[in-house]
């Protein structure tokens, strides 16, 4: 377990260093998220009643499209750089490669989500600085990253990888997306554990199941 964590953190540190140096993934997905959020302002008049009703949906539509774009690049960049073999050659448990990449994806998504919070406030007067909303968002982000990291590794060996990831990812991640949107709505309605707790439990259960499953099958996913 210690070896797995050490290797995972090594990969994670390398990814963070590369991203801080190039900023190629963060900037591209952030720009995309802003565009999605901005376009919705033309679709309807954002009255307080309407925002209260559909705000959580807008937030998660922007975040989930952004997540798909960002996760697609997780293994694609390694594949394009030719460094995926370098990771596969390492004498470390395969779940360490998964865990390292998962941490990178979670960090990227949390960074984008955090940087988008002021945008939602400005565009929709929608304050997301709510502890229950943030708890739901973090739990859902882990679930999204758990599924997305696995499917990103599957898709990287295929020709239609850009299409394949959303096709595989969205149906499987549906429970966590439903939980995220519903939990967010409850949180923004001012509900506490009584309203949010059930959705949060659903998301956390999903997280645990997919973290375990993905770790177990990742060895086979990496095989050519």
């Amino acid at each position: 377990m210690r070896e797995t964590l050490r290797a995972a953190l090594t990969i994670y540190a390398k990814d963070v260093r590369l991203e801080l140096r190039t900023r190629e993934t963060l900037f591209s997905v952030l720009a995309f998220a802003f565009v999605v959020a901005f376009i919705f302002t033309f679709a309807f008049e954002p009255s307080p009643q309407l925002i209260a009703s559909i705000g959580p949906g807008i937030v998660w539509v922007a975040w989930i499209f952004t997540a798909v774009l960002g996760m697609n690049r997780t293994f694609l960049l390694e594949h394009e750089r030719g460094t995926l073999d370098g990771l596969r050659l390492a004498p470390v448990p395969r779940e360490a490669l998964y865990l390292g990449k998962l941490l990178s994806v979670v960090t990227l998504l949390v960074a984008v989500e955090a940087l988008m919070l002021p945008a939602f406030l400005v565009l929709y007067d929608l304050s997301l600085f709510n502890v229950w909303f943030i708890a739901v968002a973090l739990a859902a982000t882990v679930g999204i990253a758990a599924v997305g990291t696995l499917f990103s590794a599957i898709a990287v060996h295929t020709r239609a990888r850009e299409v394949l990831l959303p096709m595989l990812f969205l149906p499987v991640a549906l429970p966590v997306l439903i939980g995220a949107v519903s939990g967010a709505r409850e949180a923004l309605d001012g509900e506490g554990w009584g309203g949010v707790g059930g959705w949060l439990q659903l998301i956390i259960a999903f997280d645990v199941v997919f973290l375990v499953l993905s770790s177990l099958v990742f060895e086979y996913v990496l095989e050519e």
Binding site: R81, D85, G86, V92, P93
Partner: protein
Amino acid sequence: MTEQSAPTTPRSGHALELRGVSKTYGSTHALRNVDLDAAWGRVLVLFGHNGAGKSTLLRVAAALIKPTAGSVATAGFDADGHAGRVRAATGYAGHGTLLYDDLTPEENLRFYARLYGVARPEERAAEVLRDVGAERWAQRRVRGLSNGMQKRVAIARALLHRPALLLLDEPYAGLDVQGRGFVDAVVRAVAAGGGAVVLSAHDPALAFALDGDFAVLRGGRLAATGEAAGATPDEIAALLSAPAEAA
């Protein structure tokens, strides 16, 4: 080029043993029933035209891909059940450098040293960079280095964990005389240190220059093996140009 050649892996039998190894990609047969041994302290040069199966054989030996049939043992470890040990015993440098272009050679080697669990990764990275003559470029981004220098760093990466078996896929490709001399020195040092080297090449004279063994692949089949001392470059060239057997 001496220190990195000291293998740290328990060894037995041959450095590499392939028995009945086949590899297919869909309907393409990359390797067909190959039996091949590489001895400790020796250099084995794989010859073959493009598509003969050299790269596939090296990738199978490095536990990067699993054979469709047959067994592979590296440094005494069965690749099927002990892929991790095989990877720890093997250093592999392929067509690509496996380096991150936006990191420096030093950062790349430190990353890989940590990933391989090498003790004192910073010191080891500096040591290997010195060994391959790349310490002057250690702080530059890889993307700014010449092809020859990138290749040196790529080989340094393969040597970081002091592998018992070094696998090099066309290491001489695109190198000038100085670069070829560097690869020669690395290969000789690993073999002289008791390790083994398996490399692929196109020039039959190489096996003689390295005083090694050779194997000729044609159409995924092993067409011939032998010691360089028992053949001439022309004979190897003739084996290479013989028509491939029917599928």
